[in-house]
Amino acid sequence: MAIWLARLAIDRWRLLRPTADDTTHPDTPSYRGGRLAEGEGEDAAPVALIRETAHGPRIDAVNRAATQAGVRTDMMLADARALCPQIATHPADAAGDLAFLEKMAVWAQRWGPWSAMDMPDGLLVDVTGAAHLFGGEQRLLVDAQAMLARRGLTARLAIAPTAGAAWALAHHGPSRAILDTAANDPQEEIAQRLSPLPMAALRLDDDVLLVMRRLGLKRLGDLSGIGRDALVRRFRNRRTPAANPLLRHDQLTGRVPEPLLPVTARPPAMVQHRLMEPIRHLTLLEVVLGDLAAALVRELEGRGEGARRIDFTCWRVDGEVVTRRLELAAASRDPAHICRLFTEKLQNLEAGFGFEMMRLTASWAEPLDLAQVRLGETEGEHGTSLAACIDRLATRLGPDAVRRAVPHASHLPERAQRWQAPLDPMPAAQEEMAFHHRPLKLLDRAETIEVLYATPDGLPRRFRWRGSLHQVLRAEGPERIAPEWWRERGSTRLRDYYRIEDGEGRRYWLYRAGLAGDGRGGLPQWFLHGLFA
């Protein structure tokens, strides 16, 4: 069965808008579950969903009012505005549509054992041998249509022996079409029955469709009119099915199998305990947590995974639910480690009259191979691993406290490094220039210094920083660093950096913001930015 959600993007947009009048009470008859019905409220006016392209905004989807005004998809927004000046625009959400489609694919498994996504707005469900559960294929289609309509989605459905034929019928055939082959040559019959459909029903790329139209082949039946050899020769170097009409036609008739990637829901690893008596004390809670962690680890081991994020949920007797969340720096399957990190977070748990149920869910897991546990090696003797150490630090100090500096392509000193999670991979970076001297430590903000006496070329001879006097004995510079004009305001001043050493051997990195008379403010100011080794 092929399901074509013909207006997926605009339907999703409509369902996410608030209703016209929020005063509607759920008990009144006009209430529709808080969703905007088609042609009501904002949907009554022309609306287009746009995406940004290199040549300006382009229209991704339009509603019915806009279609009537002459707006089509893939138009430039400027052209659409000329046709329909009052059109309202909203950004398209392609990633959200894809995520929605994935959820729909799992949901559609109510009609068959497995389903596949058909990007960008379709679903394929295998209903072989399942239709009688709904009272026949016709009743199955009616049921599916009603269920989709109840969710507020416009859908076209078709059932056919092959995925390609079902797709063609859903997109270009009559409503709720069913193609059942009774003859002893089903391939021939499919080709025969689908011959009036347009060439676009073959799921071809746009440029191939153009070629076919130029060749004068407009309908599927036209393909059987010319010899198979001629088609093989014409498209002999097109390997992908979407570029080869013959391959697509063979898939449509079932002469060539078409592999599909099924969508399967994968529930996260979860363990829970119901307790005979509610517990109120931390020591007992830790015992239960230990049991749960051991069970969760066994479950993860069976899947070959390690947990990255674990949720610990406790149900209280009076109905309150308390949740504690833990994130790990690397995939882990060590129950002692998990328990230890959780105990850090359980201190301020409000027990009330006690907890009666507890659950541990590994909501984010990563593949982790089985590893040999070293005999006789304990943490006390041989120390913890780096990932465990970072977990412990991040749990107590917060995830932003443990960081690692990575280089970033910028000449501005404070932008030349960025901070990221310590175990994330290093981003690719260009080699920095080795002849530049950079300070060992950089102040979070450059601090103003008070220049007391300057040499004629502008370098301070004596300055005051944090209340103490410094006499410059040696200096090197300037190293001029221009502002990044592509991201900063035009009035940003350039910086001249100097490495200096004062009378007591303290080495600093000073800079002067701007030049006298550069037209970007008054006299240039001096700052201290870094401390050399």
Binding site: A405, L443, A533
Partner: protein, 261 residues
Amino acid sequence: MSAGLASAGGASRAEVSAGAAVLLPHDEWRPGSAFRGAGDIFAPGQEATGAALAIALAEGCPRVGPGKDVPPASSDERPFLWVQDNRAAKLGGRPYLPGLPRDLRHRCVHVRTKDAADALFALEEGIRCRDLAFVIGEIAGNPREMDFTASRRLVLAAERHGVPLWLVRLDARRDLGASRMRWDAVSAPSAPSQWNAQAPGAPRWQAELFRARGTRPGTWWISREESADGTGRITGAAAPRDGDLAGEAGDRSLAAAAPDR
């Protein structure tokens, strides 16, 4: 990496010449190879001396584990932990990647804590981690948590796990501490630059070792030079030298040469 600390003071001349015999061949010698555990460095907060000396000493004293063979320093790719409490980070800034020694740049894991108690926790967790090359801590002032007990705890953990800890105390009084080596360091005028007489050269520090076990306390002028391949070498002298450092920085061990002066 070759390195040496030498004292040419009259009292310690004999000890140094004995030490110099141990130094040669200097390629196989590492300063304080017997040193395990924790060291304190007291330094002013307005300069980066403390952190720089900590890095230099940590590079010179690679980690030795019980019964494990230590990889040579050049091939050591283990990360190191740099813990700063908030006050220290405000006082002296945060580590700056392009300014770190080249072989340490990609290995720095930085922890910033809100107070000294959290910093002590982070230091202890770092010491107990087997995958770290060394741990550097920076704590400003004399907070109440940083007492003798805390210091003793850190030192014992560092000795037990064999991870060197260099704790930099910015703007702090010399309080009680259990560390095996306690330095008091300030910056010293740098060596003359090889290319530009007006420019600051290789950094030097004047460091007073005021408490040590197994070594005689004294004052040294320590300098660190980075060679072309990114590895640094730390050298020490008992008196400030002017001008001769750049000329002598060849294959010859400066430490071995120092007593002859």
